[in-house]
Symmetry: C2
Subunit: 378 residues, 2 copies
């Protein structure tokens, strides 16, 4: 999120904490904000309005509760948590404090997703009947900390990547998933967590969705996205194979974790945002929405509409700051008095689907859900 926070004029970074001292120091140097020595010091700072929790998944509940206790609004990264009760604790903490809880960034914030939702809401295409979402990435072979390869600690593609894809699909399908049937793949003994899944979701409306994700780093579905990568920038063919080759050079777990840390802010291999305005949207792979009156295909440039009249293209303007859609939602909460879309209950419902993917893959059959939420608008 740093390129967003750096460039969106609605955001000022006033305090930060990171267990890597190099990051906290770089923060003070670059942003002139307070370099704190604990997470609590950030939360207690009276200049802080929103706390952004970007800690490892299993620490979210502790840090959200901490921020809420100090009366702060919170944005917490996905996956919201690894278990439903933790989500409920976070929701309760913010409700008790009277503060907003938003979960993101996820790719359901992307403009083409929100624009497709607006097209659906217009009623021009009738009911959503089916959704198809696909993504082939190199996820499993990017440098990882050990816990990212341990499902019990929130590792693997179901917690990290289904969290995106399920959000996108729920947003397009209206939110209320009835049941989940899924299979997962754990195919590489050296990286013993889920690297792939296929899931069949059924909405209460009767609409269904097919989701497939493969993070094993061979085929690249960005070939279907005009060669635009997840971050909205041109991507060279062969990127996945390079990811595998670079990782093969890491000698052990510690070296791999170090490679990852060095790529983050304050690390020696950190590549700062080039500041160029993107010419495409971020995306999470090919998505097709089938409605009674037409099919909508999401692309990194907008939404392709295939209906009785033929093919046309809706291209909303690309925001000059990537992921500024996230700031839009925070701004709408605390400056315009609107309810957030990606609130705690919404995101708990997404985790419920992710957990059902794991459960169905273990035991077979359909898992019936009970915590789903509708879109709060229109």
């Amino acid at each position: 999120m740093l390129p967003t926070f750096r460039r969106d004029p609605r955001v000022r970074l006033v305090a930060a904490f990171d267990p890597r001292e190099s990051a906290t120091q770089a923060f003070g140097r670059e942003f002139g904000g307070r370099a704190c020595e604990t997470a609590e010091a950030v939360c207690a700072d009276p200049a802080v309005e929103w706390v952004y929790v970007a800690t490892p998944h299993q620490m979210h509940v502790e840090h959200v509760q901490l921020a809420a206790r100090h009366g702060k609004h919170v944005i917490v990264e996905k996956p919201m948590a690894l278990a439903i009760p933790d989500c409920t604790h976070m929701i309760d903490a913010c409700r008790a404090a009277g503060t907003h809880l938003v979960v993101g960034h996820s790719h359901s914030f992307n403009t083409p997703v929100l624009h497709a939702r607006r097209l659906i809401d217009s009623g021009r295409f009738g009911a959503v009947r089916a959704i198809h979402a696909l993504n082939f990435t190199d996820f499993l072979y990017r440098p990882r900390r050990p816990e990212e390869l341990d499902t019990a600690q929130g590792g693997g593609v179901v917690f990290s990547q289904a969290a995106h894809q399920v959000e996108v699909v729920r947003l397009l399908g209206g939110g209320l998933v009835h049941s989940v049937c899924a299979r997962t793949g754990r195919w590489d003994p050296a990286r013993p967590t889920e690297g792939a899944y296929s899931a069949l979701l059924t909405f209460r409306s009767g609409a269904f969705a097919s989701l497939t994700y493969n993070g094993y780093g061979y085929y690249d579905s960005d070939a279907q996205m005009d060669g635009v990568g997840e971050m909205g920038k041109p991507k060279a063919p062969g990127t996945h194979q390079q990811t595998r080759r670079k990782l093969a050079a890491a000698t052990d777990e510690a070296e791999e974790a170090r490679l990852k840390a060095e790529r983050n802010f304050g690390g020696s291999a950190y590549v700062p945002d080039d500041g160029a305005a993107p010419d495409a949207f971020q995306h999470f792979g090919p998505v097709l929405v089938s409605c009674d009156g037409g099919d909508l295909r999401l692309t990194p440039r907008g939404v392709e509409i295939h209906d009785r009249e033929g093919l046309r293209f809706d291209a909303p303007p690309v925001p000059p700051v990537p992921r500024s859609e996230v700031v839009d939602e925070l701004w709408a909460c605390t400056r315009e008095g609107r309810v957030p879309l990606h609130d705690g209950a919404w995101s708990r419902a997404t985790l419920e689907v992710c957990l059902a993917i794991l459960e169905s893959a273990r035991g077979g059959g359909d898992i019936i859900l009970g915590l789903q939420t509708e879109l709060p608008f229109p």
Copy 2:
């Protein structure tokens, strides 16, 4: 199959029967073969070696039994039948007669599918772990006879189109499907049969497959196949919308059925094969096979191989006669003494999956299968 039978030198059409007199007469005129007045007369003809049964689905069992009683080998169109016992009757009839039973054409005969299978069999890519198959067509809006829009009579995309897609996926996955979870869409009350489905298949090996089909005629997944259509020929964008528009001009069921009949051999709107050698293979939409050591992407030109080394392309030669792969299999049976791949038991197993798609969509949950067959070779 007529362009194949016309041009493959291994085939001679010696007798035929069609209830449309115009077709039987055109047959005698064009092929110089016997224009018979009953199906039985074709089967009884001593010059006939293979009987090709292209009658409506529900008549297959009667006609296969008839051919077998006369000691003929039989090729019968897919879907083999609408119920398992009918498949078994056909298998038993041919076994008792000592004749071969082959089910086809289906798109699992296509060279890229067979070539991908050979690549898998080579062992170079390790185990098949997952398969993804997609197809968006205009199936439901092509002119239809009334029974093609009635599931009970074998109408709809599960009987007609899953028969292709499941065959392709079973062939690539090795054949032995353990369970099926699926949802179907019946979205147009004017065409009250399944027009779409998504299915999640699990193989006994643990591999899984995600299959999605949409025949409602908006988006065209041939855009992902270099603009090459199902029949291996260039396809203009907007074809689906034209299909819907042409159908809208039909005034009633009888007129629509007449439109369909006129497009067949001997009809006034029949377009004979232009005799040009195709430059691409026939296909059934985008198919991805994920193996331990690489992903295989089937295209109308061959197989894209994505593995550790990068991307390369295997392009087997396009046969000068389309669907000559079907004749290859018949020839292998009766001239080279080989067992057919697409025999009765294999194809009954495909119907079992199609019926499980319908059953799972009605009742939810996984349907466990019991009649699956392995590939007979290598």
